[in-house]
């Protein structure tokens, strides 16, 4: 780059004299043999005694510009891009007939313009990342793999980041309504695209701190805010300005660091508990939960900016559904304690580890499967012999229900058997959702 400049400067130096000579119109005031370094004032055509152009001709054509070589040379880029005035263009083109070095450069720059292409935003196939990684690891197995329970989080954060890369500055402020089911009714909270990423950043921070990494919430704010909603609200409150696209980098850095850290410590820390304030999850389940949340909020964002967004890969989806199915018995028990689910009255509470009254959850579509949900006690084991009800629904529909985006009454589920059990399970699924 600098080489090219030096070269041109040399040309300029050499050519300047010539240009100035012409600029001084060959008048003899210059005196001696040394060309003047400073151009003499240019004589006006009216004062030169030469014939003036015809009036109509002068009106129809712009007055020819007389420019010096360095000026013309500096204009070559703009000229090649057709970004000069008509008069400048004419002056450059006239000059090109006389100046070899400018003509060469002009040709080169025009050629370069032909290489400019509009950048077509090519959407990468979201499945390509997984195929690239799997293919590479087939050729050389990693010595430090990403644990299976962390791959959904790795894949979902990468997908969301690819979406964020494509959206414009203004879209970061597009309104988003976070929706969830508070146990009794649907509820929501208004924020923006950037606000959603701040939410993901602060709640992922629960995993980060459990791993001994830095908490994105600092100081007192972090101490007081233990659950996801409180942390998010605290973060939103603590920043003077509403979040902007600058939130993307810290969110992405944290998610990369989490994946990297669990790869090194995975086998020993998989059972370590991550506190959500009101409850705890083992690290490997917390990572699935964060993957699920990442997808759900990526959908919120995609809706807000009118982008298409696909569900996770079947394997990820299956793990997410499995987590929800495993959490249901405890949520059912909790709801029962609060009088929100039918009492287990008159039914035998079975000892922990024994088969109990169960609902068969049949999930259709990619990533689906069947789960037996024990209804009366989190300690009981789901049992086909004690099956009292059967529901069937699509995997994505089930996840939307678990995210609180579909209400339990509206969930499109095929139902068979004990209606009360079915209602309890659908409401418990919706109650898995939170801000």
């Amino acid at each position: 780059m600098s080489d090219a400049n030096d070269e041109h400067d040399e040309y300029d130096e050499h050519d300047e004299h010539e240009a100035y000579d012409r600029g001084s119109s060959g008048e003899s005031e210059g005196g001696g043999s040394v060309p003047p370094r400073i151009p003499m004032p240019r004589a006006s055509v009216e004062d030169s005694g030469r014939p003036l152009p015809e009036l109509d001709e002068a009106a129809s054509r712009p007055a020819p510009l007389v420019l010096e070589h360095p000026v013309l040379k500096a204009l070559l880029g703009a000229w090649a891009l057709a970004a000069c005035s008509a008069a400048e263009t004419a002056a450059v083109e006239e000059h090109l007939g006389e100046c070899g070095s400018c003509a060469d450069e002009a040709l080169r720059l025009r050629g370069a313009v032909g290489l400019l292409h509009p950048v077509e935003p090519l959407d990468l196939d979201p499945g390509l990342r997984t195929r690239v990684l799997t293919g590479s690891f087939g050729r050389r197995p990693p010595r430090i793999p990403v644990p299976g329970w962390a791959t959904p989080y790795d894949a979902e954060t990468a997908r969301l980041d690819a979406l964020l890369q494509d959206i414009g500055d203004a879209e970061w402020h597009a309104p988003v309504r976070l929706r969830w089911f508070d146990g009794r009714a649907p509820t929501s909270r208004r924020t923006t695209v950037a606000g959603v990423i701040a939410h993901l950043l602060t709640v992922d921070g629960l995993v980060a701190t459990a791993l001994g990494l830095d908490d994105p919430l600092t100081g007192e704010t972090a101490d007081k805010a233990a659950n996801p909603a409180a942390r998010t609200e605290a973060y939103w409150r603590a920043s003077y300005f509403p979040p902007t696209r600058s939130i993307r980098a810290p969110w992405r850095e944290q998610s990369h660091t989490i994946v990297r850290t669990v790869s090194f410590t995975g086998t020993t820390t998989g059972k370590r508990a991550v506190s959500y304030g009101d409850f705890e999850l083992p690290l490997h389940d917390a990572m699935l939960d964060r993957a699920f949340e990442c997808w759900v909020h990526a959908e919120d964002i995609a809706d807000a900016v009118d982008y298409p967004y696909e569900p996770p890969a079947p394997r990820s989806l299956n793990r997410m559904i499995d987590l929800a199915a495993r959490m249901l018995p405890a949520v059912l028990a909790e709801r029962r304690r609060h009088g929100l689910a039918a009492p287990a009255e008159g039914r035998h509470l079975v000892p922990a580890g024994d088969p109990g009254r169960s609902l068969r959850l049949e999930i259709e579509g990619h990533g689906g499967g069947e789960w037996l949900i024990p209804l009366d006690s989190p300690g009981a084991v789901g049992s086909a012999e004690h099956e009292v009800a059967h529901i069937a629904l699509d995997g994505v529909e089930f996840c939307h229900l678990a995210a609180g985006h579909v209400s339990p009454e509206d969930a499109a589920a095929g139902q068979l058997g004990d209606r009360e059990a079915i209602r309890d399970v659908l409401f418990a699924t919706a109650s898995l959702s939170r801000m």
Partner: protein, 193 residues
């Protein structure tokens, strides 16, 4: 793109992590360079699936041979771009040669011209994405938004002199895409496209 100004430290650490066999590192490498790799491959091959294939090859190559990158020779980004261009041009030549051998239309000279055009186009794309942002912004305004250099100067908040300088310098950089005949060799000293 914010990523292109990443410090060389990132490049060195990435290479070490890949060499160590850290799966998460390859994921991060993909997140940073996949769109560059895919777009370059697509420019050369003009086909989505072929570009997917080159993307897989490029990352598998880096994963299998992380030590073939020498941080002293330049940024990882340039090396990955050069590797992509080389593999994509190889693929183009192979498919075109096969088509010709099966009695397809055209001559060897046409094939060479096509291959050369494609590699120049790939180099040009890479130069645009990696040139200093002020130059890219000026070209963007003058070429895609059809602004003249005076309007460009106003839009960028610079003098008209500076706007002219940026347009000329940007095109000078871009014109170097024509300079090398052979597709760039990633491992060589001139590896940076």
């Amino acid at each position: 793109m914010a990523t292109k100004d990443a410090p060389p430290r990132w490049d060195r650490k990435m290479q070490q992590r890949l060499a160590r066999g850290e799966a998460a590192a390859l994921g991060e490498l993909y997140d940073r360079f996949a769109s560059l790799v895919h777009a370059l491959a697509h420019r050369v091959l003009g086909d989505e699936r072929a570009a997917d294939g080159i993307t897989r090859e490029v990352f598998a190559h880096v994963w299998e041979h992380p030590d073939t990158y020498d941080p002293k020779q330049g940024p990882l980004r340039s090396w990955v771009a050069a590797l992509t261009a080389r593999l994509a041009v190889q693929r183009l030549r192979a498919t075109e040669t096969a088509a010709l051998a099966q009695g397809g239309q055209g001559s060897t000279e046409e094939l060479e011209r096509k291959v050369r055009r494609a590699s120049v186009a790939a180099r040009a794309d890479y130069i645009v994405t990696s040139m200093p942002a002020p130059l890219r912004a000026a070209l963007e305004l003058a070429y895609f938004q059809r602004r003249d250099y005076r309007q460009t100067a106003v839009d960028l908040g610079v003098t008209e002199d500076e706007a002219r300088r940026r347009l000329r310098l940007g095109l000078q950089l871009l014109s170097t895409a024509h300079d090398t005949g052979a597709p760039p060799e990633p491992a060589g000293p001139g590896g940076a496209v």
